[in-house]
């Protein structure tokens, strides 16, 4: 049987084959993991639907496969095979013959529904038109689709054996852009290129929050969770997001609308050895800080050990990135598409602050909110941030939220 890359859900249309866990000739059992695929969100291991023998591996490690594309052929000796084998050979034979005669088969761009001028535009912009999802009737790819796409075509010197300009050599090490790194690279560029990002920075007095966390620490430990500032910030976010719904939204340019989300799933940008991943804490408005703290600990552990499942990384509506533990004043985070904003949390430090005309030493931090100016204006984003800071600074208000 032909094993096709299954639907991975969430609008995921393709994945990079990271690692084959079987090779041609191997006997495999049903449900045995056979391949590790990196989608634009997470790595998944895909199990075999049948027992049998691997007769052909069709996609190389590092290549991108589309959902529905045959990536492996399993010889399962099924009785239904005769019709299948009769149907396949005529297709396979010409393909093999074509490979022999024509090492570079005609460009796949020919099979894409697009006008010659659009195909030319794709070549000029270096966009792999075969991977662009067309917005026109029947998936027709338009000039606009090409201009907005970030699906870079492979270098075009495919069959010509010319030395690369960057040849490595003793002073350079060439690291292939693969897996998570490539995904991050694609997504960051896409975010910057397709949105109008502005970063608004403000400062918050954390003194009361520092005390509040101290107060809760003991009961958290009793419940077996480590309580950081993050659950408090998440809880402080909820009333602000409710009051400023455009911060918790997604713009769909093709559909021409903005989806204001009435659920609050917060992505937590998490640093791992492989790179940045963003596990999602769901429905934060309905959980208390101890539940949040537990989930965050659990998710970041999964992230560090590469155990995140697709469900763990799907569906965030707003993202927080926290670099406070490492240092720095503030940064300009990049929005996690398709969201409309991202909040950067930074180091909490004792700083001199003027209060009631006197200089005092207080715990303060900077908050940086990058927002999509297409969706909201600067005043709106500033008001949102003020509202957030208000809650953070006011223990009474915060207490009402956290419990």
């Amino acid at each position: 049987m032909d094993f096709k890359l299954p639907d991975l859900g969430e609008g995921i249309t393709e994945g990079e084959v990271l690692k084959w866990m079987v090779k041609e000739g191997d006997q495999i059992k049903e449900d045995q993991p056979i391949v590790e695929v990196m989608t634009d969100k997470v790595n998944v291991q895909i199990p075999s639907p049948r027992s049998g023998r691997v007769s052909k591996v069709l996609v190389k490690e590092g290549d991108v496969a589309k959902v529905g594309q045959t990536i492996l052929v399993i010889d399962d000796g099924a009785a239904g095979a005769p019709t299948a084998t009769m149907a396949t050979p005529p297709k396979q034979i010409p393909a093999q013959a074509a490979v022999q005669v024509q090492p570079a088969p005609p460009t796949a761009a020919q099979s894409v529904l697009a006008t010659p001028a659009t195909r030319k535009l794709a070549r000029e912009l270096g966009v792999d038109i075969t991977r662009v999802r067309g917005s026109g009737p029947q998936g027709r790819v338009t000039d606009d689709d090409i201009r907005k796409s970030d699906l870079k075509a492979a270098p075009q010197e495919a069959t010509v054996q010319e030395p690369h300009l960057t040849s490595g050599g003793p002073k350079e090490e060439l690291v292939p852009l693969r897996g998570l790194r490539r995904t991050i690279s694609d997504r960051m560029v896409k975010s910057l290129r397709t949105t109008a990002q502005v970063t608004h920075v403000d400062e918050a007095d954390m003194t009361e929050l520092v005390l509040l966390r101290e107060a809760f620490r003991g009961s958290a430990e009793k419940r077996g969770v480590r309580l950081t500032y993050l659950p408090f910030i998440i809880k402080a976010l909820v009333p602000a997001l409710k009051e400023f719904p455009y911060v918790n939204s997604s713009l769909d340019e093709h559909a021409g609308n903005i989806a204001l989300k009435k659920y609050y799933n917060i992505g937590i940008a998490t640093d791992t050895a492989q790179g940045l991943v963003v596990p999602v804490v769901k429905d934060v408005d309905r959980k208390d800080i101890f539940e949040l703290a537990g989930e965050i600990t659990n998710l970041s552990e999964k992230a560090r050990t590469g155990q995140l499942g697709l469900d763990d990384v799907r569906g965030s509506t707003f993202t927080i990135t926290n670099v406070g533990a490492i240092g720095g004043l503030f940064a300009t985070p990049i929005i996690n598409l398709p969201e409309a904003a991202i909040l950067g949390l930074h180091k909490i430090a004792k700083r001199p602050v003027v209060r009631d005309g006197k200089i005092e030493v207080r715990d303060t931090t900077y908050l940086s909110l990058s927002f999509d100016h297409r969706v909201m204006d600067g005043a709106y984003a500033a008001r949102f941030t003020s509202r957030l800071i208000e809650t953070i600074q006011d223990t009474k208000k915060l207490l009402a939220e956290v419990l």
Binding site: V101, P106, A114, V160
Partner: protein, 465 residues
């Protein structure tokens, strides 16, 4: 010694176009031609044959003239004058190509080129050897006529299409071996000029690969006018006499012997690479000898390109020209590629046949749910008023999406009609798009609109099927 950014071997419709485009892009360009600029197409193929075909059609029309109320008598063909006019047409076009190459400051070298290394070739010219140092090489040497074992060309009784275009009269009995595009063009043409024609084809239909319904119209017309067509047949033996030949043909019904004044062999072509010494630089060819390239016309050797017939079928001048442009642009560093969806083909037999995209059979094979629709020229005002009611337009489209997959035309001006269909396919048009486009009346392209309307389910000038 000449130095070039691009050296192009072959000045045919691939090579000379590549030369012009290269020069336009600021590359120092050398075009090397062993025979005459314009190549096979301009000198020995498309152009001279169309000149003769035009006259043969005219003669044919005049013979029917009384039907139209036209009295003409004493009409005869002056072959000497006809050949002179044909040569003038060819010369005019060849000098046009020369003028263009000169005007764009390319260097044209006459002689046979041999590749010495990855950056050097030698041309044997009438004044001795000329060396060319090149950065990029484009192989555009085309194809040559294949001979059939036992039926070798002798330039007199057994001839190729090239000699066929130089004849000083119509042979009274003509045997054509090979019922492909060239064979059928000669069959229709010489039949009109007075020859008794026999076509011998080894496959089970004329124009192998074409839509059988289309081919039937052509074969019927040939046979109705007295030609004999032998399918699944081959020449077993030929006995040459002083001015005629006895051709023994093995047919499914047994052996027949045909006496012929000329035997024209048109059984295909093969790549012209033997004198190039491509082995010196290791350019890969396929088992048939065609040079292998990618869609940017690059061979396996860096800086070496191939375009046109020498890359393999379909062997078509217009395809070669487009590939020449792609090669030139790639050499100049532009992101060009041969990514057209279709290459239209035209055969100037009678009636003309033209085709683009998938035939019905190929579309089914490719897994489409196929919608076929036809419109007969017999129902079209302009075809009738032109006295050419034979044939039809056939539109092959996807039942599900309505996308036009292919169009086949047999009938008047099929060669001129097919470009609309080619554009439709390149633009990803549906049958609705064509049906909704206003076509002027009364014209032949209305047949394409009518066939598309039929595919869209609302034919006007035919009953719903």
């Amino acid at each position: 010694m000449l130095e070039a950014d691009v050296a192009i071997i072959g000045g045919g419709p691939g090579g000379y176009v590549c030369g012009i485009r290269s020069a336009q892009l600021g590359l120092r360009t050398v075009v090397i031609e062993a025979d005459r600029l314009g190549g096979e197409c301009l000198n020995y193929g498309c152009i001279p044959s169309k000149s003769l075909i035009t006259v043969s059609k005219l003669v044919d029309k005049i013979k029917e003239a009384e039907k139209f109320g036209l009295r003409a008598s004493g009409v005869s063909v002056d072959f000497i004058q006809l050949q002179k006019w044909k040569s003038e047409v060819v010369s005019k076009l060849v000098s046009g190509v020369e003028g263009l190459l000169r005007g764009y400051h390319t260097t044209v070298v006459s002689g046979v080129a041999e590749v010495v290394s990855k950056d050097r070739l030698v041309v044997a010219t009438s004044q001795g050897n000329e060396e060319v140092l090149f950065k990029n090489l484009v192989i555009a040497t085309g194809t040559r006529t294949s001979a059939l074992p036992g039926l070798e060309f002798d330039g007199d009784l057994v001839i190729s299409s090239k000699e066929g275009l130089e004849l000083k009269g119509a042979p009274s009995r003509l045997v054509i071996v090979g019922g492909g595009a060239i064979g059928l063009e000669f069959a229709s043409m010489f039949q009109k000029l007075g020859s008794q024609v026999t076509v011998v084809e080894i496959m089970d239909q004329l124009l192998p690969g074409s839509d059988p319904e289309v081919v039937r119209v052509v074969q019927r017309k040939l046979e109705a006018r007295g030609a004999k067509v032998h399918l699944k047949s081959k020449v077993a033996r030929i006995a040459k006499k002083s001015s005629e030949a006895e051709v023994e043909v093995e047919t499914p019904e047994g052996r027949v012997v045909i006496t012929a004044d000329k035997v024209l062999v048109s059984v295909g072509r093969k790549p012209r690479t033997e004198k190039l010494n491509l082995a010196a630089i290791g350019v890969q060819t396929d088992p048939r000898g065609y040079v292998i390239t990618n869609e940017r016309m690059q061979t396996n050797v860096s800086g070496v390109y191939a375009i046109g017939d020498v890359r393999g079928p379909p062997l078509l001048a217009h395809k070669a020209s487009k590939e020449g442009i792609v090669a030139a642009e790639c050499i100049a560093g532009l992101p060009s590629a041969a990514d057209w969806k279709v290459v239209p083909e035209a055969v100037f037999c009678d009636p003309e046949v033209a085709s683009v995209g998938l035939t019905e059979a190929k579309a089914v094979e490719a897994g489409y749910k196929v919608k076929r629709s036809r419109f007969q020229f017999a129902a079209l005002g302009r075809a009738l008023s032109a006295g050419e009611p034979e044939g039809f337009v056939k539109v092959v489209s996807s039942e599900e999406s309505g996308l036009v997959l292919g169009v086949q035309i047999v009938g008047p001006e099929a060669s001129n009609l097919i470009s609309e269909a080619a554009l439709a396919i390149e633009m990803g048009a549906t049958v609705d798009d064509i049906a909704l486009t206003v076509h002027p009346h009364p014209t032949l392209p209305e047949a394409i609109m009518e066939a598309s309307e039929s595919a869209a389910g609302h034919p006007i000038h035919q009953l719903r099927t």
